[in-house]
């Protein structure tokens, strides 16, 4: 059994040959070895292990290199540059050790929030994003979109220089600056009366400071703010309720009951990472005595939040407000100890009508539960719901005593940006009225994503001079007179403010790759600074904010080190509610309701896409390929409809429909997907797809639904006409959906073998690529769940057969005897534990793994063939009915079987067991028989069917820069799979050996190893560590009663175990 012998050299047996350095050593080798270690603590260890070099001591070559560098630095003399310590070096600094990575703290804007980051940098290249544990919006975790922004930095289609309208190539920066100076001069004449700036809503204090600087120079200039997925309604609602715009932050960890009304707070709403952390904490059940929170979700189509719900009500988005109203009415009518005082609102809600398709329990039982959990519940409303629904939710939360307990209120960063829909419309109207001469667009892509009634594309053409700052040459850039490259967040200085007011400095890790400017630098130029530097601008803002200017350097350095400049501001505990205003808003809002949603009144809802958000990530191939949690579709968006609606309208998945509104908007064409759990008569759309000028990966994927969206229908609209497209009409839209010919393939991968037609040859349906097309478990004990009551009755439910929910669940013990004698793993014994109860399916682990392990994307066509490369995947199963499905999620990566079926069958020993129990892959030994993958019951092995990482010259150079240098980039014909992040384990072991620190979790002096998926998980669902360390989290979890091993009956002896999922249904809901 040589395969499991430890690598450590054996002590020579008596009589065998011993090499010795001195007679003393020969006489007493053990003592001498100890002496040697004591004498050369750093050198001896590695050398003994047969390593070639010792990384810490200074070799002859190292000495000469350092000497040369010192000489070169000295020769450069005293030409001192201002020190911007965090910028990657251009001259090798003394403290830098090549091959070692460094982490820098920075911050990332995520909708209205700012997520603190620690970014890993290898020799000046940022390669991986981690959450910053000391930042409250991150707490060490991130989401999938944040993880993927590292790809945006290296996106090969980022614009590489300024461009002038109709000019064929890039213009020079000097030309741009000259033109800019001219523009400034022109506008100075009339004090900026014809100057407008359109920016995305900001959370940056420096941006605000620059804006004021511009205003002081151009007093008549106006600023507009717009982004297509915004918080306008929520802020308006808070303004109605409290007279001031607040960000409401829910501390989910303290909640017992949560009612989410059309709110995907675990997925796409701002603050999702922090919400997931708290939510998971409120549901952490360690023993049958523990309690867990209960989540009620009302939504039109399944979202991450809905998939996690204990009770889910599918309701058209329009009726969500009516439901909340009915709930409020019930709350107001409760008496006795459960009395809920809604104040002036009670009168308005008492007129609430019944909501169709809502059972009595959904009103009565939910109200009762909320009322009996006063101060421990939360009612949250999605940002696309109208302001009055938000206002009502605020009133309910205050009435329930949640305000100040579970819900805290923080003033928004920029109170002037209230109604962005109105703002963009005003801007468009002003352009039409010839009031605008110069338009500066800072970020965003309004030509693509502005509401249809603003007609922004036509308006932009009318502006005499327009300057568009954006990362890509996109739809808006095409129509602007000037396009200026916008720097990535990891390339420029900035500062940001989280929802709770936590301020952070955004520090760059790399100089702009192709030359680019940030928004604040551009504004500073406009304000008259001839050559502004982001560093000075941000530092000046910080200086203005601190009390004692002498503290500047300390504060600044601290902020860069910790990633937090200023902690969260104190929340407004329970602001006073303006009852009459709310009542008025409710009456106005309810008055607008027309006829109910039904077969003759179809509703369309627009949601932020969980991957592309509003389209800004369209050219990010990681996100393009990322399978949607609920549909498992890659590279496309779809209109989700319920099985009933599809039946009534005779629609099948892949049919393309034309959705049009009688009064407004332009018709859109979109492929249909039949999704269990969707409300009837609803077409649920996601924004951000169907880009035509996004870049090589983003172009012509999915369907653009913005044309249907208008300022009065940003979230949802009813009265939509649905028409199934005939083949001639499909032919007409073909060129929008796929590039013609074999050369312009839809995928980044090589080797397409079929011609590129967006429609199936026979059925004429739109081709959709999924990574999982079988939705049910077929009675197998895979993602095992039980209710909390069932768990209390039988805490070991995943390990035994039971009839929970009428399903067979429970994994039996191995039936098969092991082939070999059991190996006793001494030293480390790596293992993983995944808590299915915590996992929300946010997909962050999938992208984190992809970024950490250099996993290629394969493209739509290869996904269709079933060749995705993810090392960790999210299995999604439906149980229950197709109308009211329950969702079971299960992240699956290699489980590192102790009796690994893959190892026996490999003819060339390319996959072997390590002494620590890892199932290792030797890529250079692998010849690609694929036998291991056939024999893997978990199907977690991935094969490079083609050269997905590209041949020389195919992959753009910038894309190569994101590779993690510690992980091999695999070529075609090689099998790969999860390694438990072996590079992180080895790195820790090396530094443990070097520094003498133990690898021990939770030991302040020790080294903790985290796998990439574990580190990113906002729900702390994944634990990785040493099973031999009884204190470690993974070992503790593996001893829990809910623990089970997937497919344990096969006798594979997996190292990854799962904790069974729990649901917490309310028995009264029936």
């Amino acid at each position: 059994m040589s395969r499991r012998l430890p690598y450590e050299f054996q002590k020579p047996a008596d009589g065998s040959k011993v090499f010795w350095r001195s007679l003393e050593e020969k006489a007493n080798p053990d003592v001498y070895a100890k002496q040697a270690v004591a004498e050369f603590p750093q050198g001896v260890g590695p050398l003994e292990k047969g390593e070639q070099e010792d990384k810490t001591s200074l070799s002859r070559r190292g000495f000469v290199t350092l000497g040369a560098i010192t000489a070169a630095l000295a020769a450069e003399g005293c030409a001192r540059r201002p020190v911007e310590k965090i910028l990657p070096y251009t001259k090798m600094p003394e403290y830098s050790i090549p091959g070692l990575s460094y982490h820098y703290a920075t911050v990332h804007r995520s909708r209205g929030d700012a997520v603190g980051l620690l970014v890993e940098s290898h020799d000046g290249r940022p390669t991986k994003i981690e959450g910053n544990p000391s930042h409250p919006s991150s707490l060490g975790a991130t989401d999938a979109m944040t993880q993927a922004t590292i790809f945006n930095l290296y996106d090969p289609d980022r614009s590489r220089g300024p461009r002038k309208l109709h000019a064929s190539g890039n213009a020079t920066w000097a030309e741009l600056d000259a033109a800019f100076a001219e523009i400034v001069r022109t506008n100075l004449g009339d004090r900026g009366a014809r100057l407008r700036v359109l920016a995305e809503p900001t959370n940056s204090p420096t941006f605000q400071r620059m804006r004021e600087a511009v205003r002081s120079r151009f007093p008549l200039a106006k600023f507009h703010a717009f982004t297509p997925v915004n918080e306008s309604e929520a802020r308006e609602g808070s303004k109605i309720a409290f007279g001031q715009a607040f960000n409401a932050i829910v501390d989910y960890a303290q909640t017992r009951t949560i009612v989410a009304v059309d709110s995907d707070f675990l997925g796409t709403e701002p603050g999702n990472v922090r919400a997931t952390k708290g939510f998971a904490a409120s549901r952490r059940v360690l023993s049958p005595k523990d309690d867990m929170s209960r989540l009620y979700v009302v939504e039109p189509v399944l979202t991450t939040t809905g998939a996690t719900a204990d009770h889910r009500l599918r309701l058209p988005a329009r009726d969500a407000g009516a439901y909340l109203l009915a709930l409020a009415k019930e709350l107001a009518s409760l008496g006795g100890p459960q009395k809920v005082d809604l104040g002036d609102v009670a009168g308005a809600v008492s007129k609430a009508a019944d909501v169709p398709n809502v059972s009595k329990q959904w009103i009565g039982v939910v109200a009762k539960e909320l009322a009996s959990n006063k101060g421990k519940s939360a009612v949250v409303v999605g940002s696309r719901q109208p302001a009055w629904v938000h206002a009502l939710a605020h009133a309910i939360n205050v009435g329930l005593g949640n305000a100040g307990q579970t819900v805290s209120y923080f003033p928004v960063a920029e109170p002037t940006e209230l109604d962005q829909q109105a703002d963009i419309k005003t801007l468009a109207a002003d352009i039409e009225a010839k009031k605008v001469g110069t338009l500066l667009i800072l970020g965003g892509n309004p030509v693509y994503d502005a509401p249809q009634d603003a007609k922004f594309d036509a308006r932009l053409r009318e502006v005499q001079t327009s300057i568009h700052l954006s990362s890509h040459y996109d739809e808006t850039s095409e129509l602007s007179t000037w396009h200026v490259p916008l720097a990535h967040e990891l390339e420029t200085w900035g500062d940001q403010r989280a929802l709770d007011g936590t301020r952070s400095v955004q520090q760059p890790l790399i100089a702009p790759l192709f030359g680019a400017r940030s928004e604040i630098e551009t504004l500073a130029r406009l304000a008259g600074d001839p050559n502004p530097g982001g560093h000075e601008l941000v530092k000046a803002t910080v200086k203005a904010a601190i009390a004692n200017p002498l503290d500047l350097d300390r504060t600044w350095n601290n902020a860069l080190k910790r990633g937090v400049l200023q902690a969260a501001m104190p929340p407004y505990g329970a602001p006073a509610v303006k009852g009459p205003d709310i009542a008025g808003a409710i009456n106005t809002g309810v008055g607008k309701a027309k006829k109910p949603v039904g077969a003759d009144n179809i509703e369309v809802s627009f949601a932020a896409d969980p991957k592309l958000l509003d389209g800004r990530h369209a050219n990010n191939m990681w996100l393009q390929e990322l399978p949607d949690l609920l549909t498992k579709i890659c590279w496309d968006n779809v209109a989700q409809v319920s099985p009933n609606t599809a039946k009534a309208m005779d629609l099948a998945a892949g049919d393309v429909v034309r959705l049009s509104r009688a009064d407004a908007g332009q018709p859109i064409d979109v492929a249909v997907w039949i999704q269990p759990g969707t409300a009837d008569n609803v077409f649920a759309l996601t924004l951000g797809w169907g880009r035509q000028v996004a870049g090589r990966y983003g172009n012509k994927h999915g369907f653009n639904v913005y044309p249907l969206r208008t300022t009065d229908a940003m979230g949802f609209v009813d009265g939509v006409k649905v028409q199934k497209l005939a083949s001639a009409e499909k032919e007409a839209i073909k060129d929008k959906l796929a590039r013609p010919g074999l050369a312009g393939g839809p995928s980044p991968a090589p080797g397409r073998t079929g011609p590129d037609d967006p429609f199936e040859a026979e059925s004429q349906r739109y081709k959709l690529s999924q990574t999982q097309d079988h939705d049910v478990m077929e009675g197998r004990p895979d993602a095992i769940d039980a209710t909390l009551a069932e768990y209390r009755e039988n805490p070991r439910f995943p390990q035994f057969s039971s009839e929970a929910h009428g399903r067979h669940s429970g994994a039996v013990q191995p039936k098969v005897l092991p082939l070999w004698s059991k190996v006793k793993y001494e030293g480390h014994k790596w293992g993983m534990s995944i808590d299915l109860n915590a996992c929300t399916g946010c997909n962050a682990c999938v992208i984190a793994c992809q970024a950490e392990n250099n996993i290629p994307t394969v493209g739509k066509e290869q996904i269709e063939r079933g060749r995705e490369m993810y090392w960790i995947r999210l299995d999604r199963y439906f149980t229950g009915t197709e109308h009211e499905p329950l969702v079971n999620l299960q992240p699956v990566a290699c489980v590192h079987c102790e009796e690994a079926p893959c190892e026996n069958v490999c003819p060339v020993n390319a996959t072997e067991h390590s002494p620590e129990g890892l199932n290792d892959m030797a890529y250079n030994r692998c010849i690609g028989t694929r036998y291991c993958a056939n024999n893997c019951p978990y199907k977690v092995r991935r094969f490079n069917f083609l050269n997905y990482n590209g041949d020389d010259g195919v992959v753009p150079d910038t894309e190569k820069m994101h590779f993690n240098p510690n992980v091999t980039v695999r070529m075609r014909g090689v099998m790969e799979k999860c390694t438990y992040c072996v590079q992180r384990i080895e790195e820790a072991k090396i530094s443990s050996r070097r520094d003498g620190k133990p690898i021990k979790e939770g030991d302040p002096n020790g080294i903790t190893i985290q796998s990439a998926c574990q580190q990113v998980c906002p729900a702390d669902a994944i634990a990785f560590g040493d099973l031999n360390d009884k204190e470690s989290r993974v070992a503790t979890l593996a001893r829990r009663d809910r623990n089970y091993y997937l497919l344990a009956d096969l006798g594979t002896g997996p190292r990854t175990s799962y904790l069974g999922k729990l649901r917490n249904p309310n028995p009264e809901m029936g």
Binding site: T753, H774, R867, E868, V892, N909, I927, P937
Partner: protein, 488 residues
């Protein structure tokens, strides 16, 4: 008298060759095929098959250039047409050795008419099969890692892997089959050498005949060598396909993990091998007019073997279902009842094609009329070839496409390159086969002569039951000797 020397009953009563067949006529019939100019039909067939060979070469070139992704293989169906074709060809390669060696050891003299044919077919089928293990791997240029070659890293192949067992089993089989075939050819090559009219022919056949002079000592050594090789080959018939079946049987995939596989695979291999021999022989027999040597009697006997092995295979199919039910293993039950048999299964069409072709179609051979009808046996033999291809396809693809975790289930569709590669191996096979019938005696001249009545000096109706054992043995034991002497 020794019963082993008696022909089986149905044959023994009538001669194994047509009335009036003489030593000369046999030599003439067989040898002239290699001497006369090739008929036009041969050229047309050769052109077609070598074109397919060219297509295969291009398909494989493209495969090497791009990677395995040009095939339809995917996750979870990591093996598909590549291994299906491999097992199919190996199976076809079984009839040769069975007919040559096993029937030789059992003194089944009717084999003489078809054994050369079958042996050649074996070798060509094994060549076709060997194409696939080499090209199906992701990095074909490193496929030599599978051989136990000494190397500086001291890494050996993994001897626990059935693929390594395959390497040994198949290469042994290929070597022994080739040797066996070549040894059997020596006297006939000498005959061709002796008949050669051009120096080139004489030189080539002379070299190949290894200086055969037909002496008594040479015949003695020859017969001994042939017997030994037959004895070595016989266990290989059982071992090769048993080992190939281990590729599947030792894995844990439902539908693969089955103890019945070794005998079931061997029966299937013999079944498909006989079907292929039958198909080819019916064509050759018609084209080259060797009806006097390959008689209806031989064909009928082969049909009986196909009926037997087909029913064995059918029994195995049924037994798999029984075990799936009896074991109570839900994964296996899903595989058999949903993936294969149920019409809802995505690949049930393949399963039912397999059942119709392999189990139902040979049942017509219960009737003598059918057994002796050339068109019927031709159609059935082709159906069996198709059915046996589908058997391998069903085993490999239907087991893989839906295994343990429903999240990973998939479907398989071949690409054009898959199809080209498969058709290309047929091209390779027929190209080799056409070259064989053009240049090498397609029937074992010396052996057929050995079963002529003339080869047995004592052969007389009234003497048959009275002549002494030794005399009989001597005559039959050296049929070639007698035949060769008679020829000279």
């Amino acid at each position: 008298m020794s019963s082993v020397n008696l022909p089986i009953k149905s044959i023994g009563e009538t001669p194994l060759t047509a009335e009036g067949t003489t030593f000369r006529s046999i030599t003439e019939t067989v040898a002239r095929v290699t001497e006369n100019p090739a008929p036009r039909g041969w050229w047309i067939a050769f052109l077609i098959s070598s074109s397919f060979l060219g297509i295969m070469t291009m398909a494989i070139g493209y495969l090497f250039w791009m990677g395995v992704g040009v095939w339809g293989n995917n996750a979870p169906v990591y093996w598909a047409w590549d291994i299906t074709n491999f097992v199919w060809w190996i199976g076809i390669g079984h009839a040769g050795t069975l007919i040559s060696a096993v029937l030789f050891l059992f003194r089944q003299k009717w084999r003489t008419a078809i054994n050369r044919f079958a042996e050649a077919m074996t070798i060509f089928a094994v060549i076709c099969a060997l194409v696939f293990p080499g090209i199906h791997v992701g990095r074909a240029w490193l496929a030599y890692y599978m051989f136990p070659l000494p190397n500086e890293m001291s890494i050996w192949p993994n001897f626990k892997s059935p693929l390594i067992w395959d390497i040994f089993a198949v290469s042994t089989y290929a070597t022994v089959s080739t040797l066996f075939w070549f040894v059997g050819l020596i006297p006939d090559l000498a005959t061709l050498r002796d008949r050669a009219k051009t120096p080139l022919r004489r030189m080539i056949y002379g070299a190949l005949a290894l200086g055969w002079r037909g002496s008594n000592r040479a015949w003695q050594n020859y017969e001994r060598a042939y017997l030994i090789l037959a004895a070595i080959s016989t266990p290989l018939v059982l071992s090769v396909h048993s080992v190939v079946s281990f590729d599947f049987a030792t894995s844990l995939i439902p539908g693969w993990h089955t103890t019945i596989f070794p005998p079931y695979f061997v029966a299937g291999a013999v079944f498909s091998g006989f079907a292929m021999v039958m198909t080819l022989m019916l064509v050759t027999r018609a084209v080259y007019g060797v009806r006097s040597i390959v008689m209806m009697k031989h064909l009928e006997l082969m049909n009986k073997i196909m009926l037997t092995t087909g029913s064995l295979v059918g029994y195995a199919y049924g037994m798999e279902f029984f075990i799936a039910w009896y074991s109570g293993d839900q994964y296996e039950q899903w595989l058999f009842f949903h993936n294969r048999a149920s019409l809802d299964g995505p690949f049930s069409w393949a399963y039912w094609i397999m059942i119709s072709c392999n189990v139902l179609s040979p049942q017509v051979f219960w009737f003598k009329k059918m057994r002796t009808s050339i068109p019927v046996m031709f159609v059935v033999s082709i159906l069996i070839n198709i059915g046996m291809w589908f058997e391998r396809f069903v085993i490999i693809v239907t087991s893989l496409h839906r295994d343990f975790l429903p999240s990973s289930w998939g479907y398989y569709k071949p690409t054009l390159i898959d199809i080209f590669t498969y058709l290309g191996t047929l091209g390779l096979f027929f190209t080799l086969f056409l070259l064989f019938i053009r240049w090498i005696p397609m029937v074992a001249i010396s052996e057929v002569k050995g079963v002529l009545p003339e080869a047995d000096p004592h052969h007389d109706a009234h003497e048959e039951h009275s002549h002494d054992e030794d005399g009989h043995d001597e005559a039959v034991g050296t049929p070639g000797l007698v035949a060769a002497e008679a020829e000279e």
